[in-house]
Amino acid sequence: MAVSTAAPGGAGVWGAIWHGVTRSTSGFIGLCIVVGVLLFAFVGPFFVDTHNPTDVTKIWGPITSEHWLGTNHEGKDTFVQLVLGGREPIWVGIVAALITVAIAVALGGVAGYVRGRIDHFLLQLTDITMTIPFIVLMLVVASFYRTASPMVVAFIIGLVTWPYLMRSIRAQVLTLREREFVEAARLQDLGTARILFTEVLPNMAGYIFVNFIIAITNAIYAVVGMYLLGLLPSTAANWGLMIQQAWDNNAFLVPAAAPFLVAPMVMIMLFQIGLVTMTRSLEQALNPRLRDR
């Protein structure tokens, strides 16, 4: 068995996940980074003055006690923008990941469990979706929604990034369905949907959770990238938008402008690194074959 959580059942899964993250130093550091960034982005806004006016006398201002990270090309305070700008990309990442995982689990589960024609069809669909580079798919879909709200963006990302996960979930279901407890459930005539959702999939909960986190990192990569290409509307403060504005205004040529460019980059990198480190530790805990490596 490639992956199975220690104990089936609700509390066991979360316990296993907690244990998996905290069992190694690097995993724990990753968790701390993630929690730190989340607090910064979601609790931080309550502690700053959200009124952040444009001030033409302070363009690319230096770091002072009044402006902790200087000011940007419009004279707005960089630190305030940084605090306010985390919510959106992180939300988009989480929602997109939920959609990706939901699609992948549903299609992968059905394909792997039911087999036959449906499996064949779903695999073809996956192959084709996978073949179109997802960025390209996103470019085209995003052009429908020039004034896309963050949730629409999350939806678009979720809609185009599921194929890889679908394939690996299908592969897992293929092996799980041959196990005794599934056969027992089949003999009790519990019905396909019930067996799939109460017997097969809960056994992969840990694996699905790891992939949920990985999907968050992919979605954040995609949404920040879309901001960089200028494909999304310029709305409120947003890390991706900050980077794009800084880059388009050649902030890397102005030393005083560096904080406006580098600060959001650092936040995104910290969050991504934290998430990835967490998943590595988690993966090792959930997969006994990896444990002593």
């Binding site: 960025i135 990192t217 990238g225 890397f252 040529l253 460019l261 690194i273």
Partner: protein, 363 residues
């Protein structure tokens, strides 16, 4: 092997790598493989065809058409909308009244005859010419980046597996995880900010583009040097962005092989460590990774759009963005067909190579 996946044959639009022509009587083994190869090639062609159709309709489903876009631009100069539409309709080679099925038929004919026609927004350039002017740069930079990072990544991954749980392994593991987690466009930005501005190792502005002004393509030292000079930053970005994953994957794979019986036997036979590492461990550890190399090439093609945009490298990314922006349907379709063909071809080569290397796959 990495070279083959990194630089697929210049893609014909239909994307069929012909199976090896053998005239002589075949061994059953080879015949089986040929059957497998044929099935795979047929599947690849179907995928390219379906994707081509999907992209055709996706493109047309985008709001607005080339004329709307150009008229929109003209009205910004103070022209009335009707006037602008007439001028746009006259200056663009696009007939907005042609029925969809006729456009689709043109597209399919173009696909089969390898002639995608003229672009709409790049007057005087055919789709093929436009793509040929940009695609090689992207393939070159991605190919070189993949080649270097995979070679280095596999070597480092093996070293890590041999030294696992020692200091070197821990340090490299952290480096690999961190590199793997940072989005590639942020790596590109960090290189520009760090290496270009703070350390002044290079001038990021003069590095932009694919060639310096005045340098003509040709087989001479000046051209090759200049091309490498401009491609250096994108290549280095790709290397850093993907090397981490390969180190970790190779480490896991090598660790698994190291515990196999045949390695123990080879050791017991007193073979030299170097021979065991190259002929016994290395080969078997790389085997399961062949398919992943092809897949990573596919995802890299997508990610290259971001990196090229950030570094202002004139590859396929900018062309694609323009095609979407101006609704240049023929160019957009041509680009998507070529890109998918590259990805499918890379996967096909990996599949065929893999089945050649590992007979267990052919089922």
């Amino acid at each position: 092997m990495a070279t083959e996946t990194a630089a697929p044959p210049p893609p014909p639009e239909a994307g069929t790598a012909a199976p090896p022509p053998d005239g002589a009587p075949l061994s059953p083994h080879l015949r089986l493989w040929r059957h497998y190869a044929l099935v795979k090639v047929r599947k690849a062609v179907v995928v390219v065809f379906v994707v081509a159709n999907v992209t055709f309709f996706l493109g047309r489903a985008m709001p607005g058409d080339p004329i709307d876009v150009m008229a929109g631009r003209l009205t910004q100069g103070g022209m009335s909308l009707e006037e602008a539409r007439i001028i746009a309709a006259n200056s663009l080679a696009y007939d907005p009244d042609a029925p969809l099925w006729a456009q689709w038929w043109d597209f399919i004919v173009g696909l089969v005859t390898f002639d995608m026609g003229m672009t709409i927004n790049r007057p005087g350039f055919s789709v093929a010419e436009s793509i040929a002017a940009y695609l090689p740069w992207t393939l070159f930079s991605i190919g070189a980046g993949t080649l270097v990072s995979i070679t280095l990544g596999l070597a480092l991954g093996m070293v890590m597996a041999y030294r696992r749980n020692r200091l070197l392994d821990h340090v490299l593991s952290v480096v690999a995880s961190v590199l793997g987690a940072i989005p590639n466009y942020l790596i590109a930005m960090l290189l520009v900010v760090g290496g270009g501005m703070y350390l002044s190792w290079f001038n990021p502005i003069s590095l932009r583009g694919t060639l310096s002004p005045g340098v003509e393509p040709g087989f001479n030292a000046e051209f090759l040097g200049d091309a490498l000079y401009h491609a250096g930053l994108p290549i280095f970005t790709y290397v850093l962005a993907i090397i981490g994953t390969w180190m970790l994957v190779m480490k896991a794979s090598t660790t698994e092989v190291l515990s196999e019986d045949y390695v123990t036997v080879a050791r017991a036979r007193g073979l030299r460590d170097r021979r065991i590492a190259t002929s016994y461990v290395g080969r078997n550890a790389i085997l399961p990774l062949v398919a992943q190399i092809a897949i990573s090439f596919g995802t890299l093609v997508g990610g290259a759009i971001f990196v090229e945009q950030v570094l202002v490298y004139k590859g396929i990314g900018g062309l694609l963005l323009d095609a979407v922006e101006y609704r240049d349907y023929p160019l957009l379709q041509g680009l998507l067909v070529v890109l998918t063909t590259c990805v499918v071809a890379a996967n096909l080569v990996a599949d065929l190579l893999y089945s050649r290397l590992d007979p267990r796959i052919r089922k």
